[in-house]
Structures are given as C-alpha cells and as structure tokens.
Symmetry: C2
Subunit: 603 residues, 2 copies
C-alpha cells in the first residue's frame, strides 16, 4: 500500500471507531532505537526510513515529526504522500503532543498503539490534553488491520554470553537486582528494555540488526523470575541454565494475560520511561497503587563496566585496530593503483575484514562511509543507487563498529585521500584538538557530561564553528551501541560521569557542500586519585587505531597536544604489532613512528 | 541578651503560643543578601555573624544551619550557647525543613516570621510537612517581643541616578514592565526585591551598607504605580520627578493594609521566590486564584546592561585601576621601607584612595584583605583584634570593590610580597590560566554558565586541585555586587549567558594552613558574529588593573596565554596612563610594559 492509501485507511478506521487522531510512534514495545521489521510501522505508513519520527493523522491533516538529521531525507521521501513535515529541534518547534492539544477540539479522542508508546509519553499527552477533555485510547497493534504482510516476530536463536566475557554471573546479577528493588520497598520488577534483559541474564541473540538482544520481557520476583520470549529460540542447554538460576520461560505475548497472576504482595517496580503503556495498564489493574515508577536500576549498573568487560573492550579495540590498519592500507594502495572504489565498496571491504577477526558477531551499526561533501551530512547513508566514488583529494570519513563476543566498538576516522584545502586542514586539526582536550580531562566525582562537553567544542568555538550533535554517548557491552545513562552534550542532564563508564568522544565539523570531519575515540572513565580536593577521575582511551597526522596544522597545536598524538600513535603501533604481518607493520610504522612530533617534555 | 537567654525566651513564647518550633530566617522582607541591622535577627538570637544561616529552636533542640564557608566561624561563635551547628553543602547534609519534617511529631506547629521568609520556602516546607499534618504559622515580626533595642528602619536619603548613568528613563522602564506583565495576562505586578525596585525607578539610597538600594516595595498597575518607602527619604524634587512618571509614595508599612485596596481586575504578577510569605497572604486574600507566580521579568532585563551602563562600568574600572595602581605602589614602597602594615591597614588604605576617586559612593562589599594562610579562607574577614601583619614573603590577596555613580566594581588581585614556594608559583599560574581560558571563550547563544565553568577549572583539575566556590556571579549596576540570574558554576542552572551581562571570573586555589590565591576580572558578554554555525558571543574584560607576572611559571603557559597577559597588561598601562602621575606611570611600567613575554604571533 502507498502512504496515501495508508492515510486513507487510517481515516476510515478513525471514522468507524469514533477517533479524531491516530498517533503512529516510531518505536517498538521496548522503546528500542533500532527495530525489527515487525514494528517499523512509521516506515510502513509513511515511507519515511529515518530512525526517528512520529506520524500523526487527523481527519484533515497528516504529519511527520522528525529532527534536523532528517529534514532533507524526509522532504524527499514524503513528496506526494500528502504527509507534511513538522520540524523538531528548531526554534519555535511544536512537538506533536502540543500540536494535538492545540489543534483538536474539546472532548475528542486520540488513538495510539499502547504497546508502542512508553507510559511517560502517554502521561505527558494526558497532561496536555486534560484541559480540553481530549481522551487517549490505547489500541494495541492497531496497525495490524491494514498491514497485511506485516513481518512476524524475529526468530533468531538465543545464546549465552558466558561469565568469561560478562565478568558477572546471572545469579549474582539477579541477587543484586533483588536487593536494589527491595531498597525501594518493592518485591518484584518488570523489565522491558531489551539491553537490560540481555545484560541481566547474560544472553544475546540476533533478533535486531546490529543490536544483539532478544525480543522479550523479564519479570523478577523475590524467588522466581520469568523470561517472556519465543521459546523456540532457546536450546535445551540454555533453557536448563536459565532454570538453574530460577528463570523460567513463557511465550512472549503471554505476558499480557500473565500479569494478573503475578504472585507478590509487595509493590512492583517499573520504569515508566521505558515500559509500554499497554503493559502498564495491566500492571495497574493487578497492583493498583502499589507501583513504584522510577528509572530502572539496571540502567546505571549496566553502564559501570567491570574489569572483565573492560578487558573485553580492549581486546575488541585491538581487533578493530588490526582490521582498520588492514583496511586503510588496502584503501591507500588501491587508490594508488587507480582502482574505482565507491563509498559502499569501502564500507563492504572493512566489514569483510572485520568478519575475519576472532569472535566477530555483527557490525554494531550500519557504517557511515562518506566521501567529500557527503560527509557533511553527519548521518549520511550511501546506497548502491546513490553513492560517490573516492577521488585522490579531500577527506574520507568512516564511522563504523562491530560487536565481538568480548566487546563492542564504535570508531570514526577521517583520512586525507590526497591534497586538502586550508579549511579542511584547519578544521581537521581543531576537531582533533577537541577530542584530545576531552580525553585529557581530569575531574572530580560528580562532574556531568554537560560540564565537560565544552572541552571538545572550544577549539572550534574559538573560530565560531561548531557541530550540531552531541559529543559522545555511552556504549553497551555487546549490546546497544548507543547506551545511557551518561553522555557528553550541552543539555543540562544530571548524570555524573563515573568510573567504569565507556563513552565515545566524537567531535566533528561539517561544511555543507564541501566536506565533513569527525574523529571518534572511546573513553573509559577510571578513578585516578583521592585527595583533599576531591575524588579525581580521568579517561583512558580504548580505541587503538592510528590518527593520520598528515593534515595537521602544526602551528595551532600546543606541545601538550603534540605529545598526546605522539604517545597515542606510538602505543597503537606497539599494541598492534604482534597481530600484523610484516608488511602491515611496516606500513603502520610510516603512519605512526615515522611521523612523530617529538616534542621535548618540559612539564 | 545572650543567646542562651534568647533561646529561653523563644521557648517561653512557644509555650504560651502553643508552637513546637520557631524558625529564625537569615533574611529580610526583601530576600536581601546584605541586611540592615533591623533584620539581623539571626545574629541577634545566636551571636553568629556569618552572612548565611537559619536558626531553628524546638523544645529540646536549638540549631544553626549554615554552609562550609562558615563552619569554623560558627563553631567558635556558637560555643557555650547551646546552639548546635548543622552543616550544609556536605555529603548527607539535612537542611532544616527536612530536619523539622523528620524530627517533629504529627500535628505540631512551626512558627516563623512570614515577613522574613519567601513564599517559595514556606511552600517547600508545607509540602514536606503535609504528610505529618505539621502546620506553619506566620507571625510577622515575632522577634520584636524579645528584641527590646531592635534598630528601626534605616532613614538614609534617596537620590536619583540620572539617565546619564542608567541609560534608560524611568518612564521607559515602566512602559517595558507593563508590556512584559501584560504578555502574561497580568494587569499589575508587586516587586519586593530592592535592587529591582531601585533599577526600575532609577533611584538609590544608602539604607544598607555596600548596597545602594532603598527599603521599599513597588506596585505597578496599568496606569499608576505606588512606591512603599519611608517618605522622609525623598526630597521635594525627587518626589515630583516620581509623580511626573505616575509613581506615588506611600509609607513603607502601609503596604500590608493597602493590598486589599489595589484596583485591578486582571491577575497580579508576583515572584514567589522573592516575595515574602506575609505579603503573599494579603495578595492571595485580595486576588484569590488570579495570581501569576513566576520569576520577575526585571531580574533578567536588569542583568542585560545597556550601552550607557557598560560605559559606566568601564569608567568605574578605570578609576579602580588608578586607585589600585596607587595602592599597590604604596604597599610595595611601604614594605620596602620596612613599615608595619596589617591586613586592616592595607584594606583601609585602599578604601581611602578609592574615596578620592570621582563619583565614589561606597565600597561594594567589605574587602577581603588576607595575607598568607589567612587567604586560604575564601571569605576571610580580618578584625582589629585578629589580623596578620604583612611580611616580605608569600602571597597577599585583596578582594574589594566600589560603587561609583557610573558603575560598580569587584576585583581580586593576589600579589607576591617576596619569595614564593614552588607550589605558590605553580598554583598562581594555574589559577591565572583558568581566568584566561574563560575570558577567551567564544560560544553560541544559549550556552549556560554550567557549560563554560570547566574552562576556568581545568588548569587546576589537571593537577587534581580545585576551588570550593563558584567561578563567577553577575554584578549589578550601582546595585548588588552579587546579582542574578546568570553565574559560572558547576550546578546545572538553565540560564544562558547573554550579551550585556557583566559577570565575574574568579577562580582560586586555597591551600589550608599555607596560602590562598584568587584572580578576578569582570567579563562583559557581547555579540561577536552571526554565521551558519550560530550566533556567537564572547567576553570583553572590563577590569583594568595589572596582573603581576613575577610569580608565573613560564613553562606551563601556552603562547596564547602569554599573548593574553601581554596584551592585557599593555592595555592596562595605556588606558590608565592619562590619569597617573609620572611616578605612578613609571612604576606601573615596571609591572607591565617592562615585563612582557613578547611571543611572536603565529596564529
């Protein structure tokens, strides 16, 4: 069906049900960022393929709300559909709940799929709608009626990620969780975030591309736990292992009915920011007022990586370093031979090299392989139909990553393919200065990403230049490549950066129509020293891929920055040496050891 | 009466009134930081002279709540009073509202002077007390009963600060305010902040030491306004000038009764964070639900200095620069002659020099004159009984400022009186690097102090050192030396730094028992450029007093920092030259032009 037909069908549904608006959210029952095909309802309805947005249909309007990353793409994809683009994250932006509250008449009705909308969002709408008496009705899977070939639930097998990789047993994690919820007066908890469940139970799957989680819910009571997931995904061994730790299996969709039977006389803990509204309605029917709605304790605990996970990240970055050395050498030599290489060829080459690495599971996201002016779109995605050929000039940006059994990676390198303009070289240098400044930060416990973010920006801000995205995000351990709760950005978000957190540091600079630059390393926060002035934290860099120093404008680098680059590139060379062929090692030497600034250390 | 007698008298009052606790707040009816003697009830009751704190008395406990600035002082002053120190801003601190909520029994009563407690604080208490049914009763001036020699209202004459200094007429400000409150649907506004009233009406007085405001309330309706203040303070001319702009006078305390008669059929605008609870009760009785409680629009408008005010600040800092040059030259020469100079002698000398300057009104706060280890207390206050003699070694810190008719100053310089230890020199350098980094910041509109604060700290944080206070505060124009809404600190406070704001930049380093360092310049935010990456703001330094470069450790300074220092000291010399005697100019040359780093500019 075309978007026009879909909108028409939705309006017929509204007519027959007595609704005045339908909201098609952009997520699944688990508030996931990346979705299996089954829940890509927004894409099905509108044809818009971006990762973020909401469709709203009223009797006389159809709109898509999305942010600046997708304005160009959405405009193109919505053409002729009758769906209007509503821009978010621009001055005077009006989000769809506010738009509905303003546009709809008194005592009207808004319908939505309560399975695909978190409780907190519904509550926010209800608050806005209350003065006009606008009602919200939840109609689970309302899209089913028009989506005849809707994909079914994914059925990838589940597998165990052993303690040798996770560093902490399932039993230990369950004990910890039970203590955590007891301290809030709760006797049980319902988890719906897929990465929290996978982390809790040390299990993974391939249900969703690039995110090795399992479509499931997990209920944990004081002496039992139930994992709601398609049972066919679990082999006998894994099922027995779960049972040995008191975790029984039940069919995924049986959760809706089983909530009424959960046996617990204490309050239940839920995370209303993640739990979908349809399940919340069941929870409320069962527990009444005895519901504690707060951020899931798993969210922070999962972000504080243990020693085994950290060692795994290091190993993953070493493998990634070998793969990228191999890739960049191939690229340089292929370019020298004058081969025709497209952005997609390059990305595929890197994937094929990574696949050879030990313990490879999947790419951690679809790589951004962008040459020249394409790189000025921070979320550029090359397609076979529309992708550039790499030329021996200008900058090439590659943002990619992988999940290995021991850890996950996310790395961006921008490299020169030949001569650069002065602006390209200057921006390349400033972006690197930003990455270095944040990497070298030392700060007292309690400092948030919002306090530190400016360090990565000031080298660009000095020249009144900036990048329009956050500086960094948390990364899961063989889980989501974008993981909370911490980040580096300007928003005043009250989450301290804590020891064990693994967070990307990725400033950039995008010059529309010309070029784009991003340098991304992964930073591990660790405790450095406790003294009379505080409890001091600092960062260690996990990423192990050389930084190309050819474009650097030496005059604007401080001695401290030169020393950082020298010591980083030396350490990359020394760390990777044992895993490189002699030819690869010789090549990497020309990029690192042969090109040091060799500043005399005076400090 | 002694504190012990006061506590006893308060308990008798509690007994006879049926109260279970009395709260003695540390403020006046206007939420002022510095108070006239009449409202120094906390000091009267407890003997504690710090600028921040609250006394709470129950039948079996008496406590003073204050923060880390005053732990040492409070401990000393409370000795033998039976009043216990409760520490705030430490881990696990419990503030007095929470303490009362926890300690008191169900259905008890807390009494307070509603005139000296803002609405927001009372509401906060009521929220905490509700579960236990604890009541709050407001008893205006309850302290009167035991304070037999309580000072009366100050009676300093009021004077007009003309448009030549304020840059904006009273009529224009009243027009602006009426439009601002109309946009919120209000027909009138009640202002109670003394600096907001003084700014609105272009009037000043000497009611409070160091803060040239008038004890008053101001009600502004759509076509009239009433200033509630002691009428004897106004001469005929000023009274007529006010009347010409539609502002009539009424006795200060008549406001309580007159609220009932305010003629306005639209809602009234109040700022519950500032308005005292006793007046709020009257407002509510008169206006019922038709009260809009929000931050006063004057707060931000007042902070955005206009061109005349900015020129006045420049002029004030030039005068201050001359005075400080004269003072530091005197100090150096007196020390060379071996004269005995105490911290108080030095402070008094500077005051006497400042008093000679054109348009001098008052010191803008009591100077902090601190030698050696005394400077390690950021809020040290020397007394004739206890003050050090300056010796020809170590560091001397002087934090001072003045109000002139055209502008206000606040400046800290730390200077060497002789040889320094390595730590003193290194910290002196790092603190200066912090001041320079923030001074050189360029940032897009929307950036808050919380985002920028780290720039001033990182040079110290690098060495795991820090200072325990904010980096900067707004400064009023011939008003309060500490002015909101903006600041530079780590707290996630959502106020952007905007063009026209004048904010101090004063990092420090305090080594207990040894030395203290603070460098403070005043920064004016201005709009630099609008381009495709944003609307770019930057800072100009208003302060015009040389920075002593003798202690600087050159190896840890970057070329950019050296260039900043050179250009700053050159500009100080050139700016002050016309106002200095030849001898003073020659001396200042030895501190500035003769000591440049003279880095070659490559950038």
């Amino acid at each position: 069906m075309t978007p026009n037909e879909n909108i028409k069908a939705l309006r017929q549904m509204m007519q027959s049900q007595g609704w005045d608006a339908i909201v098609i959210s952009g997520t699944d029952p688990h508030s996931s960022e990346y979705l299996p095909a089954r829940w890509q309802a927004r894409k099905f309805v509108s044809g818009f393929t971006g990762s973020y947005g909401t469709v709203v249909v009223t009797h006389d309007h159809a709109g898509l709300w999305t942010d600046s990353r997708y304005f160009i793409q959405a405009t193109a994809q919505l053409e002729g559909t009758g769906i209007e683009l509503h821009k978010l994250r621009v001055p005077e932006a009006v989000d769809y709940p506010e738009w509905l509250a303003e546009t709809l008449n008194d005592n009207t009705t808004v319908a939505l799929d309560g399975l695909c909308m978190p409780l907190a969002t519904v509550r926010h709408m209800q608050g806005l709608f209350a003065p006009k008496g606008i009602k919200v009705v939840s109609c689970p899977d309302l899209i089913d009626a028009l989506w005849s070939d809707r994909p079914s639930l994914p059925d990838a097998p589940a597998f165990e990620l052993g303690v040798e990789y996770t560093g902490r047993s399932r039993a230990d994690k369950l004990d910890w969780l039970r203590t955590a919820i007891e301290s809030k007066g709760c006797g049980s908890i319902l988890l719906s975030s897929l990465d929290e469940i996978a982390w809790m139970l040390n299990i993974r799957s391939r249900d969703i591309a690039h995110t090795p989680v399992i479509i499931s819910y997990l209920w944990v009571g004081s002496d039992s736990a139930v994992l709601y997931a398609e049972e066919g995904k679990f082999n006998e061994d894994l099922r027995k292992a779960l049972e040995a730790d008191g975790v029984s299996l039940a069919p995924y969709s049986s959760i809706v009915e089983s909530i009424a039977e959960w046996n617990c006389d204490k309050p239940i803990y839920i995370d209303g920011g993640m739990l979908n509204y349809a399940l919340y309605e069941q929870v409320q029917a069962r527990f009444g007022e005895a519901v504690v709605d707060a951020t899931s304790p798993v969210k922070l605990e999962k972000a504080l990586k243990n020693a085994t996970e950290i060692e795994g990240f290091r190993s993953a970055y070493r493998k990634d370093g070998v793969a990228q050395t191999r890739f960049f050498r191939w690229l340089e030599q292929a370019m020298e031979r004058g081969e025709r290489i497209t952005e997609i060829d390059a990305a595929n080459k890197l994937i094929s090299i990574r696949k050879e690495m030990d313990g490879y599971i999947d790419e951690s996201f679809a790589p951004i392989s962008a040459y020249g002016k394409n790189a000025a779109l921070p979320h550029y995605s090359a397609t076979p139909e529309q992708c550039s050929v790499l030329e021996p000039r200008g900058l090439y940006l590659l943002d990619s990553g992988a999940h290995y059994v021991d850890g996950s990676t996310d790395i961006t390198r921008t490299i020169p393919l030949g001569p650069l303009t002065e602006d390209e070289a200057a921006d390349y240098t400033c972006v690197l200065q930003g990455m270095i400044a944040l990497s070298l930060a030392s700060f007292p416990r309690g400092t948030r990403g919002a306090n530190l973010d400016v360090l990565a920006r000031m080298p660009l801000w000095k020249y009144n230049r900036n990048y329009g995205h956050g500086t960094g995000h948390g990364v899961g351990h063989v889980l989501c490549v974008h993981e909370g709760p911490q980040d580096f950005r300007q928003n005043l978000y009250d989450q301290a950066i804590m020891p064990g957190m693994v967070t990307s540091c990725e400033p950039g600079m995008y010059c529309e129509g010309y070029y784009g630059i991003r340098h991304e390393n992964m930073l591990l926060c660790y405790e450095d020293e406790v003294n009379e002035y505080g409890d001091w934290l600092a960062f260690m860099t996990l990423t192990c891929t050389y930084i190309d120093t050819t474009p650097l404008v030496e005059e604007i680098l401080t001695d401290e920055e030169k020393m950082f680059i020298d010591s980083y590139n030396m350490s990359v060379y020394e760390t990777l040496l044992p895993d490189l062929t002699p030819e690869e090692a010789a090549w990497l030497k020309t990029k690192t050891i042969d090109r040091l600034f060799e500043v005399e250390e005076e400090l």
